[in-house]
């Protein structure tokens, strides 16, 4: 309960900080929505010509792209530092968070809000509304699937970026796996053979951020819900264990840090 109060306070402070530059916040939000709409036009062109990819049509892509955008946006808004965790670790900037009487991981990743995430978050809902699959119970499933997909995504970021405790600066690797996660997440799962699917559920769990939540939103099944729940709990648990193990190895830097 204390952690929830703490998170609410930190998010409020982040929002107030972002609102200091309202024009910039709005331009990033609107710009990101426009960016996503233009990007999605590629899939409209593709399906206009080729109609179907092993049973997936443009309507399925609206849902998949939407849920991925919303989950990505949610993490950007509320846990923006998860994208920079390896940098924070390798530059010794964890010192600041370690000196505070709050959970280190939670405090670190929630201390930054990426304004453009609002554009991704909102775009996802619009994309779902345009998909032709919209129903009110589907919207409830959308929200649940988004929370679970965002949990998987945040856990994946923590997990991969925590490797910086062992290997130092990991910005290239982090960018590589982040791009792989997002790229594989927006492609129809039916493209991949069974070996590739195993990778997309485990090493790069893009399926748990794109196609599985999309399947759950289109129609409730216990199978897709359990896949999402197991994925979210499993990855979050693993990410926390790896971060804690890494934290034991952490060596403070001597640089003077000022967190604003």
């Amino acid at each position: 309960m204390n952690n929830i109060k703490f998170l609410l306070a930190i998010w409020k402070a982040n929002l107030q900080s972002a609102m200091e530059y309202r024009i910039s916040f709005l331009s990033q939000m609107i710009g990101m929505m426009a960016n996503n709409f233009i990007y999605f036009a590629i899939w409209i062109i593709f399906f206009d010509r080729f109609k179907d990819v092993r049973g997936w049509g443009v309507n399925d892509m609206y849902v998949t792209f939407g849920i991925l955008a919303s989950a990505f946006g949610l993490v950007s808004l509320f846990f923006g530092n998860a994208f920079m965790l390896s940098d924070i670790i390798s530059k010794g900037r964890l010192d600041y968070y370690l000196s505070m009487p709050k959970p280190v991981l939670l405090h670190t990743i929630s201390s930054r809000m990426i304004a453009s995430g609002m554009g991704d978050f909102a775009y996802g809902f619009v994309s779902y509304a345009l998909s032709g699959y919209f129903t009110w119970d589907g919207l409830a499933r959308y929200v649940l699937a988004m929370l679970l997909a965002a949990t998987v995504f945040a856990a994946f970021l923590i997990l991969t970026q925590s490797l910086a405790f062992w290997f130092g600066t990991m910005s290239n690797f982090s960018n590589l796996v982040l791009n792989a996660m997002l790229t594989f997440g927006i492609y129809p799962i039916t493209l991949f053979d069974n070996y590739a699917k195993i990778i997309l559920f485990t090493i790069i769990p893009a399926a748990l951020m794109g196609s599985v939540p999309a399947e759950f939103i289109r129609a409730f099944t216990w199978q897709s819900l359990s896949q999402l729940l197991i994925g979210a709990i499993g990855f979050l648990g693993l990410a926390t264990i790896v971060f804690r193990a890494g934290l034991r190895r952490y060596e403070s830097g001597s640089a003077i840090q000022i967190e604003v």
Partner: protein, 264 residues
Amino acid sequence: MKTFSKYWSIFQITLINSLAYPGELVGRSLMIIPFMWIFYQLWKVTFSAAGADVVSGLTLRDTLWYLMLAETIELGRPPVARTMSESVKDGSIAYILNKPYDFLWYQFSTAMGETIFRAMLNAIFGGLTVWLLVGAPAHPEGFLIAIPAVLGAWALHFCINAMIGLSAFAVEDVSAFTWIYQKLAFIFGGLLIPLDFYPQWLQVIAKALPFASAIYGPARLFVTPSLELFISVMSLQLAWIIVLSLTLALVYRSGIKQLTVNGG
């Protein structure tokens, strides 16, 4: 000639600098491998579903090699807009403006210096991946023929990105413009889908825009090289470079009048 040698030296220094961190250089370039693999999955299924070996004049192999070069052009270019807007925002532009060289030519020389090795490694990793997946390109000589068009593509990218970067003279943050430009280049440049697969009306529009000269033209020249295509791609590209570089010079002149540098 002396003026040219000045920018050639800047280009050489940046080129050597880009080799200072080989791990970083290789790490960035590995990104093309998952991209090419997923393109292979998508187009293999699509060609198979279409039940044809050739779609709009391209085979699966042509399509993959086309996408490899398109990605190499896109992933190879440095973030010029961001670099320029940062230098406007933090005032470091003042240190460049008082040097005995032209701001735009300096930026162009450094951008090209950063691009060369990055693009070469992308081409190597991307090329090896595609070779393993679909075999050698049908026209290996196309790579050499496409090189002038690839260089022209980076000049075009530079002109547009520099204009976006310079818009920081007027607005706080240019990131929204860079995202939108990037996605327009994806669509109208044919980065993810060759323009030949587009509806006819959209092809006509896209091929007339500068984005096609920056991505589609060089990539298509690589997979289906011919003298006619070379002349057509190069002449359209040259026309766009002239128009956009003149526009860039005008934007720069009007922007520099608004610049106020605080502190130092």
